[in-house]
Symmetry: D2
Subunit: 354 residues, 4 copies
């Protein structure tokens, strides 16, 4: 089977590097284009990047020439790790020109015709693509903290209903990109603010858990309150969550709802799909970012410490790899789902039949 | 004025060291005895301790001989930094023998005749001492995470009433003592469990905010839910708090309640009293442990980021120096209050007139 | 081909865990026994260990019963991660009873009949085994800091001769075991002492680079001076090395000597052998522990920054994964070499024909 | 006594902040001007700075208006924390206009008429000022790693002679300024390169230890080889040093040479002078940055672990606070010396009689 040709927008940035790391050996996708800002355009990739991944850069990618972010790249699909101050317009340009754009940026997440997609949760939202008037298509994945939260909430939402959630995050450094957080700012410290983050965590789950009705999404009806903090962890966002359920239930039923949760990516064994969407650990001090962020290659959301909450109903801790499940890996899983569903064609012409 | 002679129980441990650091230059107190476990007893202090404070040990203290924790020490007051697995009985023995015991351990906190004292909050609870049948007396200070929380809640409790609070802590390493948390366990990591801590944070504020009525404390009526985490910070516990108030109010009224809060230690300018009990910072990303933990010599509780909570009424972030305000400094302030009130006499005989 | 049955002494410790992590999927070896101190003996492995590896423990190993360190274990080969205060006698007992003991402890390293083995350097030292009078055999691997140093020196030693080396190490936390270095001791800090380490780094290379002559090892003739420091890095020892060569040469010749160096483990493609023994990186700020410690699955010694030294001849930086190349992985490679050479038989009887 | 009016060039940067922190309460100097890049000019200081010091900014300084770096500032003395890519010309302009410029930048360090001054070492080099043809004067302090090294070497240089030194540094994050080193680059890592640093450490001591002869400096005759590393420490450079002495001596004589070393700043008790220039600690694992960097308010160079070197004569470890002794504090001490010597006049007219 021929591989789908993919390009990366923002290839030199932190998310862009993660896309490359995950796609270097991908069974379905082949990197054929790298694009970044004007400053890098024209250079060899290895000359324009400060590579900070622990997996070495493959020689083929190292030698590729970085292009400008203009819609003349030789690929069908574009993974966008662009910064939100430029992503909106560039992604629109590519979609207009006929490319499939899988974006990690916030700009198009709330467009009414753009799915805010988590394949295990709302693959039916892909129906929104029929409304898009681009020659290509745009699909977004959520904010990195939203992803872990909404994946852990979904099984409970389906089984018991959720009225409210309170979440406090302890987010990893890689979420801020590179150079990102100065070492002098975070060593021996906690920063209790991530600008714009709390709003995303409070709002995005409402769209993701919402229902597709007649060509648009009706937001879910639950209240979320978020405090977001930066801590001195390289990768993996930890979140302390309290939930108020619609229907009373037991701890074991909740754990069962998590452990049994499965969706299309698991059934179809998509290359990036975790064996278990949510993995509940019974050790009393789990999950921990350094120990558990890479379970299922960083695509599982790991949960632990379920117990009663004196204020709402239950509380627990979740962990999600922010640059894999919460960014590059999530976007790649979105693309895999779209290939499997025939939305992204496996030949070089653009499919038009969704 | 002659200094009050004080001793330290558990002098080689992490809290014990902090007592020494804070008492080395104290205007009212003079260290005349150091006691620790049998393993250290008989040795020179500097030979029995792994000193981990950045203030050097004074030569006088370095040369003192460590004694066993038996009630034949030459001092009036004992500050106890003992571990809770031995503190209970030892402290009782000293109180029986006529010493004033100021304990940082949990063992006696819930004794009905023992004040769980924060001088700015419940100095009237010292009336409980009349009920104690020891020849000396025992007074306790709260858990380090409780202290920051309850100091920040008190002005709101008085001004508006509090029905519920939800708190997620990010606690410093020094709270676990020495050797405490292994570096391999916490570097590049968060540990989402501190055994026994959540129970203390949920319960202790009820006694502290409670009212003294006819010789006993009637607990305050509010609900607290706590998640406690360990993070890679040396000193300073950060807490994300959401509160439900009894009476609706504005952000500015809350800030005013904090900024105006003052109590006996401030009026009397006790040596360890912070100028401001609660210090509200208006910078959008404050408080931060590395930057603000030492304000007012580590005795102020620093608050920031007050904003509406989608679920309860308001949310904010607080920071409190866990080994100063939340442990050694808090116990010393308790002792200062007791001296000022004449409970601890400033001569070598035991006062009996409280 | 039937697998060789192996056991692990000190299975719950930090090195013991690394042995398990590396052996869980090994093509030649199968874990059939776990042994540890009396405190753990009789328990399920998962109940007796604080697992701190990021690779999950396999269910089979988790369920194994931990045994005492007595020579009645059902395996042919024992990997020892024992602490040196007990290793000496226990290892002797096992060797006497007929086991092959591959030890990471220092106790037997200087026994005149025990090879201090690095397969790429001195496999001829295995001839010492003929002198051993045990029913089984003991082979040791060097100290973790020695290993990286001596692997980087060997190609230069062969090609140009080395008269002297000056080395300053910046060693990882995992080298101190678990719980090991307290977080309060190392965060925001450097500890400029690792007791006993400098002596090992100065002496062990002399034996390893020595020549086998008539049943004993004649130490190499070079002078090494070492300063050893602990830094806040999880894994990977970094070493700043200056060398005085016997024969003058150019930088490119030195790099070529490193890049071309290969030995039996590479020729035989032993399972744990790195493709390149020494990997020279030309990036100006390489090697770095977080980025390069896992090259070749942690078995390559990574070198960079070769340049002239104003005092000796050349200086460079090396990096070696201390618990893989420098401990468990090194011992496993030793065992692989011994299997390949027929010293360890691949059937259950003890070979006697070396 | 009226205070000398001082300004700070590069006031918003990391060194600039340290100047402010140290000068806010200075007995001799009063901050009357703050200058920074065009981007900050015209703003209130507190609006233009990301204050990262743990001492709060004083309200007076917070309210000062930042000026451009042009020689119309109302002060006599300028402390320069400018980046070296702009410092050279700006400092020259100020000197020409009649200001005393105390620079922390490298640009003028090798000017033949500019002292590279460490008051305890080479105050006689101030005679070079007679050769300067500026209306004002320029004096520089050395690189932060050089300072610690040369202060520790000086007593040995005087007492025994030094032929060669080998130094490996482990340098703190604050040495790179703010934002400086990205957290993703240094957490769980060591970076074995600080561009340009090794050259400074190898060369600057030669001028500092050199002798003033007929209007110029004759460099000292010793060889230094340096490896410079960045480690995850907030403040305090640690250096592992080996020295070859001209005259053989004992460890105790060396320790005595350090402990007895004293110079003009100590005799005159200059406000920033440490009580002891070099402080030798006998604890076997000292010095450590977190524990000892603030001894003597960060102005003492702390030494430990003196022992024989197998290659040169002796080796030891030194620690120096890089932004205090090695930068802002060093420059302030230079200015204090110049005031004491009458070079900087204590009235508002420029002295011309040195």
């Amino acid at each position: 089977m021929p591989k789908v040709s993919v390009g990366i927008l923002g290839a030199t940035g932190s998310v862009g590097q993660k896309f490359i790391e995950l796609l270097q050996q991908h069974p379905w996708f082949e990197i054929t284009a790298l694009a970044a800002s004007e400053r890098s355009a024209g250079k060899r990739y290895s000359d324009s990047v400060t590579w900070i991944q622990s997996t070495p850069l493959s020689p083929q990618v190292a030698e590729m020439q970085v292009r400008a972010c203009e819609p003349d790249l030789s690929c069908q699909v574009l993974f966008s790790g662009l910064d939100s101050n430029v992503a909106g317009e560039i992604e629109t340009n590519f979609a207009r020109a006929g490319y499939f754009v899988l974006s990690n940026a916030k700009n198009h997440r709330w467009d009414p015709d753009v799915p805010l997609l988590v394949p295990e949760i709302n693959s039916d939202h892909l129906q929104l693509l029929e409304r898009q008037r681009y020659k290509g298509r745009i699909v977004t994945n959520p904010n990195c903290s939203t992803t872990g939260l909404v994946v852990a909430l979904k099984p409970l939402y389906d089984a018991f209903g959720i009225e409210a959630a309170h979440v406090v995050t302890m987010q990893a450094l890689s979420g801020a990109g590179y150079p990102g957080v100065p070492s002098l700012a975070i060593q021996d410290n906690v920063i209790p603010l991530i600008p714009g983050e709390e709003e995303k965590v409070e709002m995005e789950p409402l769209k993701i858990l919402g229902s597709y009705e007649n060509g648009s999404i009706r937001n879910a009806n639950l209240i979320i309150s978020a405090h977001c903090n930066r801590v001195a962890v390289l990768d993996g966002h930890t979140e302390c969550v309290s939930v108020k359920l619609s229907r009373k239930t037991s701890e074991e039923e909740i754990i069962q709802a998590w452990n049994n949760y499965s969706a299309e990516p698991q059934q179809w064994k998509l290359p990036s799909a975790p064996a278990k969407v949510v993995r509940y650990l019974r050790e009393e001090n789990a999950p921990q970012p350094r120990l558990h962020r890479n379970l299922d290659k960083g695509m599982s959301v790991v949960v632990g410490r379920l117990r009663k909450c004196a204020l709402l109903d239950y509380k627990f801790v979740l962990l999600s790899h922010n640059t894999i499940r919460g960014a590059a890996g999530g976007a790649i899983l979105n693309a895999e789902l779209m290939v499997k569903k025939g939305i992204i064609p496996q030949h070089s012409e653009l499919s038009t039949q969704y």
